[in-house]
């Protein structure tokens, strides 16, 4: 596989590369890249055939969108690229209508994004995160309105509970309006919670999954070691970050050990194996990767060549298995009981 191993995003006609270029690092001072470094990564991705670029209005306070917008315009790539951005986060402290998923903020946000991106449409407009308040009906209607107005070609949902995504998708279906085609959630060897609800829901609803943080903010590259929590490594997790120290758990160190063992046997860097694992998970359409350098990006691309040995996949899955929970999803032996002890193959 390479970046031109195209696939449709969910049950839609939108075609994307197996790796999406994430641009949260573009224009971010402390751990990201300046304009030149961002341009080099962007050019390398596009030259290798990549077509999907993901940004958000909130990344680097709008700087990421500006950098992406200039790169796309300068190189005349607008129609070739699948350009995605997001709304939800607040742009004006103290004004509750300048954030959240209501229609007022949605229109404020997309106008700003189109201006910074120097375009009159985005290919994919994401609701960035569940705001706990806005009714699903309003979200469906206003996102569909954007598609009808031509400002967005498709819409997707990021960081929402699976039941909320289901409600939005089902409402859109029932009302016969354009609904979400994709689900963006954190998904990696150390964050498999989405397998409880999101993955099965996305399958039934026709949503393509685009994992974010497939390397767990760099944890799965192996650059952090047990005991050097904090100072060393120079990565994002060494300073203020949304993960806190929450990644440095016994469970995660054990997963990292398993990854190290598999990577050594496969003769590949840890990051490549971790990405290959994410790419191969059922339901995953395009893994979002960030890169500060073209070397990092080349490594990510190389992960597409890896076909995990079944033995290795088993070892990684076992080390990272989820804790049992009551979800209403029963194991196959229970479902067998429901069908009188017989085995029944379902519609795919």
């Amino acid at each position: 596989m390479d970046l031109t191993s195209f696939r449709t995003l969910g049950r839609s006609g939108l075609v994307v590369s197996p790796l999406t270029l994430g641009t949260m690092t573009f224009g971010t001072a402390r751990w990201g890249s300046d304009g030149d470094a961002s341009a080099a990564v962007f050019d390398a991705y596009v030259e290798a055939g990549g077509n999907a670029v993901d940004t958000a209005d909130v990344y680097a306070g709008g700087r990421s969108e500006e950098i992406v917008g200039r790169l796309v315009a300068d190189r005349g790539l607008r129609d070739r690229l699948v350009l995605a951005t997001k709304y939800t986060f607040n742009a004006e402290p103290g004004n509750p209508n300048a954030g959240g998923n209501g229609r007022k903020n949605l229109h404020r946000a997309i106008e700003g994004s189109l201006r910074r991106l120097k375009t009159d449409y985005v290919d994919l407009f994401w609701l960035h995160a569940y705001d706990t308040l806005t009714p699903a009906e309003e979200v469906v209607e206003s996102l569909a309105g954007l598609v009808r107005s031509g400002k967005a070609r498709y819409v997707g949902l990021s960081d929402v509970p699976a039941w909320y995504a289901t409600r939005v998708a089902t409402l859109a279906q029932a009302q016969g309006v354009p609904g979400p085609i994709a689900l963006q959630v954190p998904y990696s060897l150390v964050e498999r919670s989405v397998e409880r609800e999101h993955v099965p829901a996305a399958h039934v609803l026709g949503l393509g999954i685009t994992p974010w943080s497939p390397l767990a903010a760099g944890f799965l590259t192996g650059k952090y070691e047990r005991g050097d929590v904090g100072a060393r490594g120079g990565g994002r997790l060494s300073g203020p970050n949304p993960f806190g120290d929450s990644l440095f758990t016994d469970r995660n160190w054990a997963i990292l050990d398993a990854l190290r063992a598999v990577a050594a046997e496969a003769g590949r860097p840890l990051a490549q194996v971790a990405l290959a694992w994410a790419s191969a998970r059922p339901g995953v359409t395009s893994v979002i990767v960030g890169a500060r350098t073209t070397e990092q990006l080349a490594g990510h691309q190389a992960s597409l060549e890896i076909q995990l040995d079944p033995e290795h996949a088993r070892a990684l899955n076992a080390a990272s298995a989820l804790e049992p929970a009551f979800t209403g999803h029963f194991p196959p032996e229970v479902v067998r009981g429901i069908f009188g002890g017989t085995s029944v193959r379902g519609w795919p």
Binding site: T88, F89, N90, A91, E92, P93, G94, N95, P96, A98, G99, G100, A129, Y130, D131, T132, L133, D159, V160, P161, A162, W163, Y164, A165, T166, R167, T170, L171, A174, Q175, V185, P186, E191, S193, V194, R196, E197, H198, P200, A201, V204, A325, F326, T327, G328, H329, F330, V334, V335, G337, I338, F339, G340, G341, T342, V344, G346, W347
Partner: protein, 364 residues
Amino acid sequence: MRYQLLGPSGLRVSELALGTMTFGDDWGWGASKDESRRMFDAFAEAGGTFIDTANAYTNGTSERYVGEFVASDRDRFVVATKYTAAMRPGDPNSGGNARKALVHSVEASLARLGTDHIDLLWMHAWDGLTPTAEVVRALDDLVRAGKVLYLGLSDTPAWVVSEAVTLANERGLTPFSAIQIEYNLIERTPERDLLPMAAAHGLSVLDWSPLASGALTGKYLRDGSAGEARGAEPDAGATSGTGEGARLDQMKNQVYDRYATDRATAIARETVAVAAEIGRSPAQVALAWIRQQPGRHVPILGARSLAHLTDNLGALDVRLSAEHLQRLDAVSRMDLGFPHDFIGGPDMKQFIFGGAYDLLDRPV
């Protein structure tokens, strides 16, 4: 005993439900008919009206007993039963969520219950195969036929419930009133998806295994074994139409494995300690804890003896103090995981609402 509306419906139910998986000894650990009758009478005398059974419980005996016990005052009781469990081994269409299984299961339940309508019909457990649209429409047809009055979904993932509720509302079909799930101090994972989903849709929550198969009474602390533990995951009736001994033995072991963990033991110890401090039984504390959690909870009391049931009913006037709730929470809290820890936190709310979240009055 007080009464409440079941979810967004007009149905009045008692604030505790009587579970009847223990009615009949066909599965080797239930109550005799006489003891079942005594439990039923005690529940009714306490004001209880909400009776929960299932097609497969004790191979149909439970439904037969319930039908007999409610017969003299049928309209007073809210009789709930379930479909999904296979009743003919080897026949895949005798179980599952599909219309074929639904129709014959309801006909058979009506015959065993000796009634012409079921007040509340549950889909017992999601089968992972039947399209939700088929279920929603087939259930509505039974309501229109007058055989079923209200609908609920038991042991079904939050996203599937969300799909079913939304489809029913959009299509003008009979709405769903409640979910039924396992929830107790040891099994708090429904706080991730099922409970917020139920709250968002206004659904009532019937809690099965509120005492964690007895673990919260402290009985495993005393004898260090699962003793006569009965099946808990999932509720045995969802899968066992025949109740073979080997299967139940296996379930007993599973129950023991689940409740022998350090965490479960610590929770049971704290429950026993709180109970001693307020002069109540641990079971009453465990039930009161559920009733004081956010959401519209109706715990299901499943007892094998009149003594246990009477003790459980004593939970009606137990109200735990903030300090006791805090202690029970501290010992039983779990990681919510994505996306709940990510989007539910105060930082994220500030990030989205620009510091105005706490200034915002929200609908209750």
